[in-house]
């Protein structure tokens, strides 16, 4: 490694103009897709091609409509798709903005140094691949190939994952686990021997009572549940929302419980206390299917609503009334497991409590509760066996996070910073479609890890902050310009969905499958990608399940029949053996006990904000997905900055005015890099402030997003690690208001 590369300066991507670049050779045959009748709007002759959305990970299937010039016009939902039911959310509808964004990455770039200043130079794909292959060869020789990690959040991850496995590393991670839904999967697995999965197996459509704890559907625009909540409430279902903020869905709820943040466990234990002590639980179900009921009964004996009142600020009669509301609806009740659940570090235990409450009410495996999803048994194109890595991601943290079933993005980041205890640190990262600067908590730690790398390759469509730290940037084309793997998702009915290009890739961009295959060939690993092109691969795979690429190009979505009539396997108390040690639903978790963790969830007091500070709560806006949509022209048109929600009493104390800009400073003295607008609203508690995640971009190349709003990720410097599975609890940060900027930040 040359000395000039020791310091990895953030580079504001320059000279990326594509004016001089030749456009990519067409990779695709555009003759397929359905030709529609002429539209009555003059000049709009439409053709449509199937896709599934990549703006969030609900992956709704849809149609991309192009006009007679072949220009992409609009994207609409696919009527046969259970994820979208023919209706996309605003982000999917605005997906065309991702394609049209003129700030996109346009050609491969390689970090270089000119007169002592680090900069990027344009490169051909071949040069970029040669550079990466050479660097990885050195990493493999000096440290072993297993010191390479892939961070991926997107469809391209399948191909890049194959590349990494072929190279000899299985450290493949997505921030969607340790930064998001991991504790939920572990908590439910410990209870039912199965996780919740995505899309969540919740039967909202037919429920009579939906309990949401911190989930803010309608603002979190996961399409399926938003649609089904509307359907269910129209049929008379009630909603109980537990949230320190009067969220959109709180406004649609029969009960809004404005809980004091960080006390949810107390409420869950008190609910179980009421349901057991008032004999409201499903006795037959509990007797037939569960293990450890008496332990649980004893465990929650003292957790009365009066006990919980002092912690949660929720009145005892409200706790009782809502418990009875759930029990009245039982078994057609859902205590929703949520999705982003990495809050306070005891999240696996909290999600255990959610799972157990559902078990008491008999909702798992029942109509209106949790259904049994099925997906098509799908065989991928055969390739040679991957080599067995000498070390795996688990070896980076010996003896810790024993229940983690997937690699931890934060764990790999931590294991990149060399320490004396660890004999091997990660030396190379490939980052695809995830802006780790905003995604991982504790930015200083992430930057320290990046500085320790020998190679950082970023594959993305946009110049996100992470690209500024890359050694090589590979511009991926958008989902509207490429094929990806067949979407094989679990739902009430198994379905397949195809994504195919609706237009040629703009600029000198390429799809991930092409990048992975060509880089593999450069690295001498071409045998692991034995197909000629993606069409051959997809056609072979589809033919194994009785379809074909030609059929999928026409229909987009193929619904299959379920293998068994077991959508609700416990509806009539049918015999069932759960995948747990006892074969039962474990109210008392033997797996937790075996590993030395609490077998029954306990309430733990969490730190409270110091005087003059407020708990930082963050969430979603319906028109944005994390930071990845922040520059989309259609979506920034709907919302181009976030604001900080402040209760009027607090605003008065500080003399704040609506729409004034200020900076937020956290308990560690870290100040937001950019100012944020104040929104004074009754919709937030006095001990908390709220902001939407994904704003406060510092890369000037994101011309619409640069400097707009502030980043919550800047302020999340204190992380509470989940001991069971390594999740990063991020809701234990407190902020105060500051009326001038912090010190200049170099990036």
């Amino acid at each position: 490694m040359s000395t000039s590369m020791n310091r990895r300066d953030f580079i504001k991507i320059a000279g990326v103009g594509a004016g001089s670049l030749a456009f990519a050779t067409p990779l695709f045959d555009f003759s397929t897709g359905e030709i529609l009748a002429p539209d009555t709007v003059p000049g709009m002759y439409a053709k449509r091609t199937p896709t599934y959305c990549e703006i969030c990970f609900w992956k709704c299937a849809g149609w991309v409509h192009t006009n007679e010039e072949g220009k992409i016009w609009k994207v609409t939902g696919h009527e046969d798709d259970p994820h979208s039911n023919g209706r996309l959310c605003p982000r999917g509808t605005g997906g065309v903005g991702m394609y049209n964004d003129e700030d996109r990455l346009k050609t491969p770039l390689i970090r270089t140094e000119v007169n002592g200043v680090q900069t990027f130079r344009e490169a051909s794909w071949d040069e970029a691949f040669t550079y990466i292959a050479d660097k990885l060869k050195i990493v493999a020789e000096e440290h072993g190939p297993e010191c390479t990690a892939l961070f991926s959040h997107g469809s391209g991850g399948h191909y890049l994952g194959d590349l990494l496995n072929a190279f000899g590393s299985n450290s493949i991670t997505a921030p969607s686990y340790a930064q998001c839904r991991g504790p939920r999967e572990v908590g439910f697995f410990a209870t039912y021997g199965e996780g919740v999965g995505s899309p969540e197996r919740v039967d909202i459509r037919d429920t009579r009572c939906l309990v949401l704890i911190g989930s803010h559907f309608g603002e979190n625009m996961h399409n399926g549940p938003v649609q089904e909540i509307s359907q269910a409430t129209a049929k008379g279902a009630s909603i109980i929302t537990v949230d320190p903020r009067f969220s959109t869905v709180a406004s649609k709820s029969k009960f809004w419980l404005p809980i004091k943040p960080a006390t949810d466990m107390a409420l869950l234990l008190a609910w179980m206390h009421v349901i057991i002590n008032e004999n409201l639980y499903d006795k037959e179900y509990v007797e037939k299917y569960t293990y450890g009921f008496d332990d649980l009964k004893a465990h929650v004996a003292t957790h009365t609503p009066e006990w919980a009142y002092g912690l949660t600020t929720i009145k005892p009669e409200t706790i009782r009334e809502t418990a009875r509301e759930m029990a009245n609806a039982s078994p057609r009740v859902i205590i929703h497991p949520g999705r982003h659940v990495t809050w306070y570090g005891d999240d696996t235990q909290r999600l255990r409590a959610v799972a157990m409450l559902n078990a008491l009410l008999g909702s798992w495996g029942r109509r209106g509760g949790f259904y049994n999803p099925e997906k098509v048994s799908f065989k991928t194109y055969p390739h040679p066996h991957f080599p067995t890595p000498k070390r795996t991601w688990k070896d980076a943290h010996p003896g810790k996070f024993k229940l983690a079933s997937l690699a931890l993005a934060s764990g790999i980041c931590d294991a990149t910073i060399p320490t004396s205890e660890r004999d091997c640190s990660f030396k190379a990262w490939i980052v695809n479609g995830t802006n780790l600067i905003h995604t991982l908590p504790n930015q200083a730690n992430t930057l320290k890890a990046i500085q320790a790398l020998d190679l950082l390759v970023v594959i993305d469509t946009m110049p996100m902050e992470i690209t500024g730290y890359a050694d090589v940037i590979l511009p991926e084309c958008t989902y509207l310009e490429r094929y990806d793997d067949i979407r094989v998702s679990a739902h009430r009915e198994p379905t397949l969905a195809l994504r195919m290009p609706a237009a040629e890739p703009k600029y000198n961009t390429k799809p991930a499958w092409w990048i992975a295959k060509n880089l593999a060939e450069k690295m001498g690993l071409g045998a692991f990608f034995p197909w000629k092109d993606i069409e051959e691969k997809l056609d072979w795979e589809l033919k194994q399940v009785g379809s074909s690429l030609e059929e999928m190009q026409r229909i987009g979505v193929k619904k299959m029949k379920r293998s068994y009539d077991d959508l609700y396997p416990m509806e009539n108390l049918e015999d069932f053996e759960f995948n747990t040690n006892t074969g039962k639903i474990e109210l008392y978790s033997t797996a937790m006990a075996d590993e030395g963790y609490d077998p029954l969830p306990k309430y733990k007091a969490h730190e409270e904000p110091p005087s003059g500070y407020y708990r930082l709560i963050y969430g979603r806006a319906p028109m944005h997905t994390f930071s990845r949509t922040a520059n989309n022209p259609n979506l920034t048109d709907l919302m181009d900055e976030n604001s900080v929600w402040v209760n009027p009493k607090i605003a008065k104390e500080w003399g704040l005015k609506n729409d004034q800009y200020l900076w937020l400073e956290n308990q560690d003295g870290v100040v937001s890099k950019t100012p944020i607008k104040v929104r004074i609203t009754e919709r937030i508690r006095f001990d908390s402030v709220y902001m939407v995640h994904g704003f406060g971009h510092t890369n000037k190349k994101l011309t619409r997003a640069f400097g707009r709003g502030a980043s919550d990720a800047d302020l999340i410097t204190r992380v509470h690690i989940d001991p069971e599975m390594g999740g990063t609890g991020m809701r234990g940060n407190f902020v105060t208001f500051r009326f001038e900027a912090g010190e200049e930040v170099s990036s």
Binding site: T76, L88, P90, P622
Partner: protein
């Protein structure tokens, strides 16, 4: 035939899908919109109410924009839909100032633009783009003269309101409350 739209405020979550669907369907330039979201919070913590509305041109039966237009560019089309004939519009903005709903804007090409109830889709038997996209199914479009239409039934069975009724514009967008 009297076309109208009903927006169910109990279902609407204010996601703005209707806004972006309209923008792509009708090639509305970035920076402009033919429909938009209004959120109104009332009460004090913790006793709060929130009303969310997807708003647009009200296609008034007694439309001030049509009356003030000096060139008859603003006119009633089939089913009472209020339209602007681009080629007749001189961009004088009289209609913009007369509209109590602030539903119109000057298109960068110089003419006045606004919601058309997606007449090009309605003519083909399709719903307006905003109605067709809404994930919560909060919007209903149809003919008030047909007592069996979905909108007539919604208006007959639900409590509803229209915006600024005192302006006497006889709006044809209704809000189910």
């Amino acid at each position: 035939m009297r076309y109208a739209m009903a927006v169910d405020t109990l279902k609407c979550v204010g996601c703005s899908d209707c806004v972006v669907a309209c923008q792509t369907e009708n090639n509305v330039p970035i920076g402009h919109c033919r429909d938009w979201i209004v959120e109104k919070t009332t009460g004090t913590y913790p006793k709060l109410q929130l009303e969310i509305r997807s708003e647009r041109c009200n296609h008034c039966a007694n439309a001030p924009c049509v009356r003030t237009c000096p060139t008859e560019a603003s006119h009633y089309a089939q089913g009472g839909i209020v339209l602007v004939e681009e080629s007749e519009c001189i961009g004088c903005k009289a209609c913009i100032t007369s509209c109590p709903y602030d539903a119109r804007f000057i298109h960068p090409e110089g003419y006045v633009d606004k919601c058309t109830f997606c007449i090009h889709r309605v003519e083909k038997g399709q719903e307006p783009a905003c109605v067709a996209v809404c994930p919560t199914h909060c919007m209903t479009f149809g003919d008030l003269d047909d007592p069996n239409s979905e909108i007539s039934r919604a208006m007959a069975t639900r409590k509803w309101k229209s915006l600024i009724p005192e302006a006497g514009t006889d709006p044809k967008v209704f809000y189910l409350i």
